[in-house]
Subunit: 427 residues, 2 copies
Amino acid sequence: MSVKTIEDKAFSMIEGGICAAKGIRAGGVNCGLNPDPKKFDLAMFVSDTDCEAAAVYTQNKVKGAPILVTQKHLAKNGGKVRAVIANSKNANTCNADGEEKAERMCELAAKALGLKPEEVAVASTGVIGETLPLEPIESHMDALTADLTYDGGGRAEYAIMTTDTVAKEVAVEFTLDGKVCHLGGMAKGSGMIHPNMATTLNFITTDAAISAELLQQMLSELVKITYNCLSVDGDTSTNDMILVMANGLAGNARITSDEGHPHKVEENPSTGYGMVYKALWLVLVNLTRMLAADGEGAGKLVTCQVKGAKDQDSAIAVARSIISSSLVKCAIFGADANSGRIMCALGYADADVDVAKVDIDLSSEAGRMPAYRNGFAQAFDEDYAKGILSCEEIEILLDLHDGDGEATAWGCDMTYDYVKINGDYRS
Amino acid sequence: MSVKTIEDKAFSMIEGGICAAKGIRAGGVNCGLNPDPKKFDLAMFVSDTDCEAAAVYTQNKVKGAPILVTQKHLAKNGGKVRAVIANSKNANTCNADGEEKAERMCELAAKALGLKPEEVAVASTGVIGETLPLEPIESHMDALTADLTYDGGGRAEYAIMTTDTVAKEVAVEFTLDGKVCHLGGMAKGSGMIHPNMATTLNFITTDAAISAELLQQMLSELVKITYNCLSVDGDTSTNDMILVMANGLAGNARITSDEGHPHKVEENPSTGYGMVYKALWLVLVNLTRMLAADGEGAGKLVTCQVKGAKDQDSAIAVARSIISSSLVKCAIFGADANSGRIMCALGYADADVDVAKVDIDLSSEAGRMPAYRNGFAQAFDEDYAKGILSCEEIEILLDLHDGDGEATAWGCDMTYDYVKINGDYRS
């Protein structure tokens, strides 16, 4: 899958994920939650210094115990975080002893790292409603701590992956006040992903100095146009979070004003706030694309771009509705240009749309074809359409000719493998 | 699949579908829209006398041309209908000449039956956005008219079926004013079925005499707790309608008052209005169950019963959310008791729920097991759970312990075949 870059020489995409930022040690081990000894299941990372932090959490009313404990710790520690411990294979959710065990995981990490428990955030992902055994975690804390290195982001990422088939790490480099700064992140998918939620486990670090308040403001804004425009299967997890941590080790002047807030995210930034905003967007949008492309059983990345909507919210509603349609997803799996299903999904989107003005194109590296004009189906060549829809990245492009609202949503096709993976997930 | 009956000797389930009512002739032929000459694709039925009519239509903003024409005809003809013409294989939707052709279908039927075009309703189902060829329909009107008989409901049903694997017909018999009355219907599914819509093509006839206004009132009420609680794939068609026609040939005194409106639909009715209300519910709820059980690729009927909700709307929201969850549907396909997914789907339902009070049971003819109590997962025997979930009808039972709101929703499992059918639907 291609990485989304931008025409802006002020940013370069780099390696390193969460360890791209200075002063972040990370690692991962197999502690035995996963019976496969080669698959890591326990991750930890820690910053050399205190981090200002921002987070968004799942909006599901059933919240995993780790979410509740992390929220509590951030509040208790004045919005700051030093370290994160996370496990896969068990969500530690809907268990009577869930919070107690999530607290205990933080205590174990704090003890190993010489921190206070409230300086540690915790996350779990996996099966809901199975009791989390603590013994494997406790007995592997020494090994995990010994594994921490300044380039260990990939090992931590491997430990939080579940049905993910590829690692998801992105990082960018940019300069503030003559200081080289880094912002990077990692994510795990890959089912139970749907808009309106923080969605999936996501950890982002930066060595830029910025106030927690501004970090939270930009995270909340950017999640709306990235993670909240992502759908794999219409389900929404109980345990999802995005945690952003800024340790300031790059040495720039701490950003305390949102002066230079961009009008459009693509524009070239003119202030420190604008630079971090754009860097965070680049990381979030690329993780979003990676999560969509690696949706459970996914064979294709599907992007729906809507322009000409009455406003941004309408554009988001339409783009999300189309990307979430099981029938659209199946048609793309089959490379079947059944574009009426796109019109249909547009028609039940919660948005004010004049269906008589709608233009739809299907596009990929194999070409671009008009599918609908003014709400009516257009004649097309079946072979040409099949060629377009047989590529790995498919774009559905809509112009609603009714305003200047724009949005993009990301999803994937629906395949036999999605059903297979989820028919027997717990084994 | 079992037919849902009730403890009420005033009603008996009978054969005949739309022809159970007196004075309804129906038929179906293959006119060539479907290349398989054995599969019918054109249906017609007509009442010997005028019918008072009620209808609900898809809420999709993209509406099929037949919907628009049917609405127009009902308005023009004072809410009355005599006949219906319907085709499968082509939805006649999103085509520039769609309304013109839907009008023409009504003219053809009217001419063949000696009626005015506005006395005819029209429906189409199939691929969206392909031009409907009229020649096959025109050239088969004589054959279709010749095919009409007073027991031809099954032939009409066969003509509107698309990916349906079984015919869906239900009828009941009851007595009003000493006169034997009948109310029966037919439906076609089986994908693109989701709440908030009339959903699918559905035709219901009765020989009871009742005012169109009261018929509309009871239809709108009953759709809320039957068809609108049905989900196959979360998609909502552009062409769905339920049309109910009452010709009064049973000879009862025409019902013009809603005296005796039931508090609960199950209670034994005490008035004519109550009798027709219950008969219509029996037909709608059984068609709903048949549509769910025959969802595209479905192997199992899944029923979710919610009680103890704050109110009925909350109960409906929770039941619909669970039944619509792709992950719940996949788990049931795999007979995997991953009940955390039920809690998860409850958690993102648009309803005010105290998750700490939730009890969930899984049930089928193989047994019943507690899965959650007070929001926490319960230990269970894997083999016993697998046995329960391996049956053809699965019940998910929730008690929210927070009020007296109740609702039931119907859906099906998600299977490889769903993806297969919809990856190449147009062929």
